[in-house]
């Protein structure tokens, strides 16, 4: 399936030289480059310092940029974000890590009531140019508290942006854009595909980024504009909206099913690239939305609502949501929860029924 995703060269502003990176390395490179370019960028979080993070995303950064710019923190997500907001108000550009997205809830008040609201309530006197990185999503037998996909929550909160990459190339370019952005951004990293794209067939051998075109990543600086989706597969039969891991799962299913789907990788949930979405759905007349998060009030609900509002008269079948179930993330039945190829395939059949 790796060659189903287009090579990304066109977006690169400064594309040479390139090298093979997995998503962790690409994320690491984005932080490294931004710390080189901007002395105000600092990296902090639980275990991110000497050790380099439990997923190694910050490996080597402390040794290179020093302890004052890359450091471990106390285990208080509330404190991590609160302190980052204060640093942002001073003029720094903090990149805090929340070790797992499941642990972001203690920080919610500082994110929602503070980071997201500071510019508004102070009429721009103070801002929160912070980028919160956090691995999210399941499929790693992580159980209830190492698997959640809470991205939908943040899309309901005015004043904060939400970004989710699906490849090393995008991860680096988007993370650089997020760090440069002057508003708070949540950067959720699909940990299931840190090492390689996952096609959703958990019982098949896993792949790695070295054979994927988007695993070829410029070593230098480049960025991908926030708010721009990417059509990873052009098609006419239906539009599939997805992000993160599910982009790859959808691509695999579509390939196996031999359906001419247009797959849109949203990349940024807020602000959403409505133009790309609208154009695609108006063209295909059908829309499927796929995410791993629980169904009710997940971001798929917003996507469905907005597509319906804008493309009502073009729709030839009901918009389908394919999602995780409305249960906590289980351990042993992880693959029964996961919106994998079967669930997507069934929905595809349904939506294409009258086509």
């Amino acid at each position: 399936m790796s060659d189903m995703i287009e090579a990304p060269v066109s977006e690169t502003t400064d594309a040479e030289p390139t090298t093979r990176m997995n998503m962790i390395q690409a994320i690491n490179s984005a932080m490294d480059i931004m710390m080189e370019r901007d002395p105000d960028v600092i990296v902090m979080g639980e275990d991110v310092g000497y050790f380099g993070g439990v997923f190694r995303a910050t490996a080597g950064l402390q040794a290179k940029h020093g302890k004052t710019r890359v450091f471990d923190t106390p285990i208080t997500e509330c404190g991590i974000i609160g302190v980052a907001v204060g640093m942002g108000a001073y003029g720094l550009r903090p990149v805090p890590e929340i070790q797992f997205a499941d642990y972001i809830y203690p920080a919610l008040d500082q994110l929602v009531s503070e980071a997201a609201r500071l510019r508004y309530r102070s009429a721009g006197e103070f801002t929160s140019p912070i980028t919160v990185r956090s691995p999210f999503g399941g499929g790693i037998f992580g159980g209830q508290t190492h698997s959640q996909s809470p991205e939908g929550l943040f899309t309901h909160m005015s004043g904060i942006k939400t970004v989710i990459p699906s490849t090393p190339y995008d991860a680096k370019g988007l993370l650089i854009a997020a760090i440069e952005d002057n508003d708070p951004t949540l950067f959720f990293e699909p940990k299931r595909i840190y090492n390689g794209p996952f096609d959703g067939y958990w019982d098949r051998p896993s792949q790695n980024w070295s054979k994927h075109p988007a695993g070829e990543v410029p070593t230098g600086y480049y960025k991908i504009e926030l708010g721009k989706a990417k059509i990873v597969r052009a098609g006419e039969a239906l539009t599939i909206l997805a992000y993160g891991t599910m982009v790859h799962v959808c691509a695999a299913v579509v390939a196996e099913a031999g359906i001419d789907a247009e797959i849109v990788d949203l990349r940024t949930l807020v602000p959403l690239d409505i133009e790309t979405i609208e154009a695609s759905v108006k063209k295909t007349g059908r829309c499927m939305i796929v995410h791993e998060a629980t169904r009710t009030s997940g971001f798929g609900a917003e996507l469905s609502a907005i597509v319906q509002e804008r493309c009502f008269y073009h729709l030839e079948a009901p918009i389908e949501r394919v999602t995780g179930f409305d249960t906590p993330y289980p351990h042993s039945l992880e693959w029964a929860y996961f919106p994998g190829p079967v669930r997507i395939g069934e929905a595809l059949k349904k939506i294409m029924k009258d086509a």
Binding site: I42, T68, R69, T73, P74, T76, C78, G79, I81, G82, V83, A84, V85, G86, M87, G88, A89, Y90, G91, L92, P94, P106, D109, Q110, S113, E114, R117, L118, R119, Y120, R121, S122, A123, G124, E125, F126, T127, S158, G159, K161, D181, N182, D183, G227, V270, P271, L272, I274
Partner: protein, 429 residues
């Protein structure tokens, strides 16, 4: 393992629910409040280790005695001129509060909060800090702005959410933000400013800057997790920050026992983190000044954070939405043993021959006039609820640096709504 306590022999447990000494109708007697004599507390060197002066978390640093003398090692030995300016700031704050409280009662705005009885806490701290130091206040430290000479009219514009409100009517009255005066945007969510102050201080230290941060919260607000995160971070990185806990005994209707005051002092929290802690007579402007100056000196010399409990009393209701007569004895404010901070500093200046009652009365009159004039000026820019003071489209300003398409669409929708409607809003008001 053997159950060594057969259940049948055990006494039933009981749950302790704190109860304040006095409720409505009770006669008030504060004799149990422990007030050590002024001048008694020792003053450690600012280079001393926090563990060497734990006792200061359990006493009261006091400078002004009952006869108006400034005594003991904490006397900051301020010039009469500085003290007169502090006195004036406190009196101005009180006059401002009185007038704005009344303005709310007159329906000119939606909300107001006074600092009556605790004027020294913010005002004296502002004098002891550098103008460049950054303050992260709660909603009861308007005294910082007044002491830093910020424009009353500007504050009132915010209170009225009027055309000249720099915050564009976006915030509840009194939730000021004045970057120019080193005054961070006030949040409605309690204690969120604490870790933010630590972050600012850490940033300052990381950059090799010389500015420090100070933050304030009420004793009730110390229970929030943010307080703990802030103290932990500050202890770990020795952040140059001053934590002020304004223990004014009440958190809306809940007395300080519900924040833990029955068990120990709030300054003792500092001991728990191994950081410097001071307990100060919050109605003694010179003590507040001295403690702040000392803590600032520690911060500036990389000795790290200090937590100062300001022992004071909230002499008014929580806000204009509150009626304290419902839950506490009306005798409390007057019986409060630490007195009125303005009167105490005034008495001292008089005692040392640098002030007199006549000048004070004249000053009060002058300040009342000043506030009145400011109010007049501010009201030219409008009062809340009387006309539309902000362009409708400004509703969307500042959600993000740049408006994304969906907010542009919503803004247009709102403008179309207005056009379509018979909505009685005057766009130009």
């Amino acid at each position: 393992m053997a159950s060594e306590h057969p259940r049948a022999n055990l006494q039933p447990l009981t749950l302790h629910i704190p109860e304040p000494k006095f409720r409505p109708g009770d006669a008030v007697d504060f004799a149990e409040v422990d007030v050590p004599p002024a001048g008694e507390a020792r003053r450690p060197d600012t280079a001393d280790k926090a563990s060497d002066f734990i006792d200061l978390a359990y006493t009261l640093v006091r400078v002004l005695d009952d006869d108006g003398n400034a005594v003991g090692p904490w006397d900051p030995k301020l010039s009469p001129d500085v003290m007169r300016r502090m006195l004036r700031s406190m009196a101005l704050l009180r006059a401002f509060d009185e007038r704005m409280f009344r303005a709310q009662r007159q329906g000119k705005t939606s909300f107001y909060m006074k600092a009556l009885g605790e004027e020294a806490v913010a005002v004296a701290a502002a004098y002891a800090l550098d103008h460049e130091d950054m303050c992260f206040p709660s909603y009861r430290q308007q005294g910082l702005l007044i002491a830093r000479g910020w424009s009353l009219v500007d504050m009132m514009n915010q209170i009225y959410s009027n055309t000249a409100d720099r915050l564009g009517g976006k915030q509840l009255p009194i939730m000021y933000s004045v970057k120019e005066a080193g005054f961070f945007s006030i949040s409605g969510n309690l204690t969120t400013q604490y870790p933010q102050a630590v972050g600012w201080a850490m940033a300052s230290a990381a950059k090799g800057d010389t500015r420090i941060a100070a933050t304030w919260c009420g004793e009730g607000s110390t229970a929030e997790g943010d307080f703990h995160s802030a103290c932990t971070f500050a202890a770990v990185y020795r952040a140059p920050v001053i934590f002020n806990v304004v223990n004014n005994q009440w958190a809306i209707s809940s007395f300080s026992g519900f924040a833990g005051a029955e068990a120990t002092t709030f300054a003792a929290r500092a001991v728990g983190y191994g950081i410097a802690g001071l307990r100060v007579d919050g109605n003694d402007a010179l003590a507040v000044y001295a403690a702040t100056e000392w803590a600032a000196e520690r911060a500036r010399t990389n000795q790290g954070p200090t937590l100062i409990e300001h022992f004071t009393y909230r002499a008014e209701g929580h806000s204009t939405s509150d009626d304290p007569g419902q839950y506490r004895s009306e005798g409390e404010p007057n019986a409060w043993p630490l007195g009125d901070p303005i009167k105490r500093l005034k008495d001292h200046l008089i005692a040392i021959g640098e002030w007199d009652e006549e000048r004070h009365a004249a000053q009060d009159k002058e300040l009342a006039e000043q506030v009145k004039a400011a109010q007049k000026e501010a009201e030219k820019n409008g009062i809340l609820g009387h006309g539309l003071h902000q362009p409708l489209e400004s509703l969307f300003d500042g959600v993000f640096e740049e408006l994304p398409w969906h907010l542009k669409e919503q803004r247009q929708q709102m403008l179309d709504e207005e056009t379509a409607s018979g909505r009685p809003w005057d766009r130009k008001a």
